[in-house]
Amino acid sequence: MNDLSGQISWADVSLALLLVAVAMVISRVRRTGLEGDIAVASFRSFAQLLAVGFVLDFVFDGNSALTPVVLLVMIGTATLTSGGRGKRIPGAYWIAALSVSAAAGGTLGVLLALGIVPAVPAPPSRSGP
């Protein structure tokens, strides 16, 4: 393995936060009022990636029965986000849920039906992504 994953330490990650600090300083100087959003976004990305990274590792490690749960969470979050955008349309959440599901179901259906991706990931070797 010559990937980068072993080379970035948590100390390095916290150093990279300097870039976020730069963004916040710029935001403050230009008075965009985005400092709060930047802080929230940084914290959320930290918490979300931490949680999702471990969950995905667990699911890919032979617990693929949980895949539908992961998919449901993803579709649910997407529905809430997109439905919130269309607030002035009655039933926007249903529209969002159905179109997101249609996209996910339609594409995955085609890929599976044509055999482009296998339905079950190859468990032992973990050669593929």
Binding site: G86, A103, T107, V117
Partner: protein, 132 residues
């Protein structure tokens, strides 16, 4: 990725269609008063909203690799996978996103039109309240 892309597409289609029908309310109602159905009267805005929803992913597919390096492909290459297999994966992903965007735009457009008109082919009240 399909889901997050579909999410953006659905948001775009819904808000664009709602705004357009609101802004062109009188035109839409003129169509309706001439006896067109809700589907016919909203067709041109329906088309532009679906188009608008699909554009970002199409543009992204056009410039992939030139403007933004796709994360999955770069990751596979860094992890030592062969170039060809990384490329094939990324191609499938891009085509998948285009297809998913089309599905999402289609469903979102159709359902939004259904929600913005009454069963009697009138614009719903909240759209009619917009000046125009």
């Amino acid at each position: 990725m399909i889901i997050s892309n579909a999410m953006n597409t659905a948001s775009l289609v819904m808000s664009r269609l709602r705004d357009d029908l609101g802004a062109h309310r009188r035109e839409v109602e003129a169509h309706l008063s001439l006896g067109e159905t809700a589907t016919e009267a909203s067709a041109s805005w329906h088309r532009s909203a679906v188009r608008n929803g699909m554009l970002p992913i199409i543009d992204q597919t056009k410039v992939v690799g030139l403007v933004a390096l796709p994360g999955a492909m770069t990751g596979m290459l860094l992890a030592g996978a062969s170039a060809s297999s990384a490329i094939r994966l990324q191609l499938v992903v891009m085509y998948m996103l285009v297809g998913g965007g089309a599905f999402a735009a289609l469903v979102a457009g159709r359902l939004t039109v259904g929600r913005l008109f009454t069963p009697d082919h009138q614009l719903i009240r909240s759209v009619r309240r917009v000046a125009g």
